[in-house]
Amino acid sequence: MTDLEFDPHRYEHALDQREDHAPGDEPEESAGHWVRNYVIGLGFAGALTIASFWAAATHLIWGPAVPVAIAVLAIAQMGVHLVFFLHITTGPDNTNNILALAFGTLVVFLILAGSIWIMNHLNGNMMPMDQMMQMQQ
């Protein structure tokens, strides 16, 4: 048996308070704790979903503010999913998970913001296509 094969769970509880935890995992808890967690998550996520569909359909919100409202609600809902469904916490047993998530978020942000920013500038600075065709001739 290699060191990697050694599994303390076979000798102790399924998961121990003292260990690190992978995302989606928690120390041993009663089923009620898990179910309560998911019900709270479903409640928050459902409310946020309804709110964003409402924001898209309503005329009560000032037009240009609607996309911002939808974006904010979407980010909030992703947070709810991370906390209540994926069990990402701020506890010391989750440090690795949080750090990986932070790096992933950074890369996602760079890709999105960078692409949109650069392509918008290119679009604004480029010669219209028909003029470009004339230049080439």
Binding site: F6, D16, H21, P23, Y38, L42, I70, Q77, L86, V108
Partner: protein, 231 residues
Amino acid sequence: MTDVEFPVSVEALRRIREDPHRLGHRGHPVREVVAGAGHGLTGPASKRIIVGYGFWIFLLSDFVMFACFFATYAVLQGQTAGGPTARDVVDPTRVAVETTALLLSSFTCGLSFAATNARNKLWTQVFLGLTGLLGLIFVLLELQEFIELAQRGATPQRSAFLTAFFSLVGCHGLHVTLGGVWLATMMAQLQVKGFRREIMHRLVCFNLFWHALDIIWVALFSVVYLMGSLT
């Protein structure tokens, strides 16, 4: 020796030791060393942690891939070449039903994991089955949407916007479909092999995957469908 005590500093030391990051909950009390807990001198973490964490890294790379599709979509959104715009392709009712199905499937998937942790095979299978059913509803609705769009001549070849739209939404749909296949194999494995250690690891990973799909769908319905219905 004097009998002077330093209760404040002793208390502070204890707190630092039990809660090194001062986060106020679930510290690591200094008790006996646990092999396999992944703490410094105690050797590598147990396989359950390594497998779950590794899968988390994969999911984050999947998010990065989706970010590329989202960036493409955002850049090409306006390039409709005289064809259908985002507003024309959105059917709000269908999107609402799809969203409900996927959110509920994420919830039942979580309940199945609660049953897994309680080592209850029947309820695990019931909730996994429900998850698969809701996922199937989602995939079928999306397929219906794609077929209807194709019948109206809105195919990926029509414009840059539609290419980006079909790649982004289709990539997510493909993930859900493959997730459904994985779910079916997990149900079969669980039925035959029971709650063995490696089956537990796979169930942890599957749960992560399914919840991650729902996170991506949140971004998708917000950016593509809801914001698309505004313009």
